[in-house]
Symmetry: C2
Subunit: 285 residues, 2 copies
Amino acid sequence: MIDNYKQIIDSKLYIFCKQQNLHVDQFQEALCYSLLNGGKRLRAILMLSIVELKRPLSEEDYKVALALEMMHAYSLIHDDLPAMDNALLRRNLPTNHIVFGEDLAILAGDGLNTNTFNVISSARLPSDKVVEIIKILSAKAGIYGMVLGQAADILSSINKLKKSDKWLVNFIHKNKTARFLQACCEIGAVLGDFERDIFSKFGLYLGMSYQIIDDYLDVVSDKKTLGKDKKDIDNNTLTYPRVYGMEKSLELANKLKSLAIGTIKKVNGSEKLVELAEYIVKRVN
Amino acid sequence: MIDNYKQIIDSKLYIFCKQQNLHVDQFQEALCYSLLNGGKRLRAILMLSIVELKRPLSEEDYKVALALEMMHAYSLIHDDLPAMDNALLRRNLPTNHIVFGEDLAILAGDGLNTNTFNVISSARLPSDKVVEIIKILSAKAGIYGMVLGQAADILSSINKLKKSDKWLVNFIHKNKTARFLQACCEIGAVLGDFERDIFSKFGLYLGMSYQIIDDYLDVVSDKKTLGKDKKDIDNNTLTYPRVYGMEKSLELANKLKSLAIGTIKKVNGSEKLVELAEYIVKRVN
C-alpha cells in the first residue's frame, strides 16, 4: 500500500522537477537532488490516506501532497548543514551541502520552503480551504512547531535551556517532529471535509511515537540501515533513550502508537491508517 | 511621509514580538533582533501606499505589510551568513549570526520565511485575495525570484555560470531584488482592487533602479553610512558599475526611475509613490 503511493508521489515530484526551467542549472539540481532523493514520503501518504477515507484523490490533492514533501526536503537539507547536525550522509547518499556546497544548500532549502506555499496556493481548490491549509502548515512547520523544535534541540545539546530533561525532550519531539505530522493529518481532514479533531490527535500521537522510534533506531541500527550518520550521541542530543532508557522508550512509543490507533479506529475505513501507524513503529530506518 | 509609515510599522512589529511566547528565549530573541533592527521598511511602505490610493488602511493591510518585512528580514539574515556574504555588520549592528551563532541565525531566517505565510493566511481578508497574495509572494520571493537571484549571484561570483556579464547582471538584479519589490506593488494592487499591470511594471522598474543604486553606493559610500560591510568588491560580485561603469550605471538607474514614475503618474493621487521613487534614487544607504 505504502509503496503504491510512494511511486506515484516520486513520479509526480520528478515531473515537477523536469518542468522547471530556472536558468541556473546548479541551483535547480540542488533543489531536485534532495526532493527526488528517496524518502518514505510518509507526510504525503498520511495526508492522502485521510482524504481517501472520503473520496477518490484528485490532481489537486496530489499538489498539496507534493508541497508537504518539499517542506520536508527543505527541513532535511537545513538540518544536515555544517552549522546544524553537520551530517555527511542522508538516505545513503552525500548530503546536499556536500554535493553542492553550503551556500547552494541553504538556498535550495530556502527555495523549497517558500515554494511549498507557491504549490499549495496554485492548487485549484476552494480558496477558503487553501487558506486553512496554509495557516495550519505555516504554524506547525514554522516558529510554532518544527523550526522552534529544532532550535530547542540545538540549544539543549549545549545545555543552554534551563528546563528539566523530561519537559525538554517532550517539547523538542512534539515541535520538531510531531507538529508537522499533525499538520499533514489536519490538512487531510480539511481536504476530506472531516472534523479536524480526531485527525489532529492521531497525528500528534503518531508523530511522538515516530520520533521516539527514530531515537531508538539511532542507538540500535547501523549507519547503513539508517542511511545517515548516527549523530545523536556525537551531538549530545537529548533523546528519549537518554532520558527514559531503552526499554521505557520502546514502551512509550508503543503506547503512543496504541493511542493513535485507538483514536483513528472510530473512523470508517481507517484500516490503511492503522497499517501506517503499525509500519511507523516496526520500521528499521 | 516615509517616517510616519516607518514608525507605525516598527511599533506593530514590536508588538508582534512582545506577543510571542515561544518558550525558547534565545530563538525568539534571534527572530526579533533582525525583525526590529531598523530598516527602511520600504517593502511595507510601497504596498501600503498603493492600497491608500484607493481607501484608508485597515489593520489587516498592516498584517500583510508586517509579513513582507518578515520575508525581507529572513532574506537579510541568510544573505549575511558565513557561507553566503559572510557579513559582520548590518544597519551598523553585528549581524544575526555574529550575535546568536550560525545555527540560530539559519533557524531564525527559516522561521521568518515560513511565518510570513502564517501572518498573511491569518489576516481577516477575503480568502481569494489571501490566496492571490501568497501566490505572488511565494513565486517572487522564492525560486522564481529572490532565492533564484541570490543563487545566480553566488555562482556568478565564482564564474560558474556561462552567460554574458550583461545578461547575468540583469538576471541577478531582476530576480534578487526587483521581483520582491514588484511583488509588494502587486500585493498592494490586489488589496486596493486595482488592475495589477501598472503596479507590476512600476515595481519592476523601481526594483531595478533600487539595486543599481545599491551597487553604486557600495562603491562611493563609506561603511558607516551604509551601515554594513562593503562586500561587492571583496566577493567579486557582478555589479552594474563593474559591467557598465559608474556613470552609465547612474544613468541607467535614473532612466529606470523615470520609467517607474512615468508608469505610476497615470494613477490618481500617485504623488506619494513618485516621492518614494525619488527617495530611492537619492538615498545614501
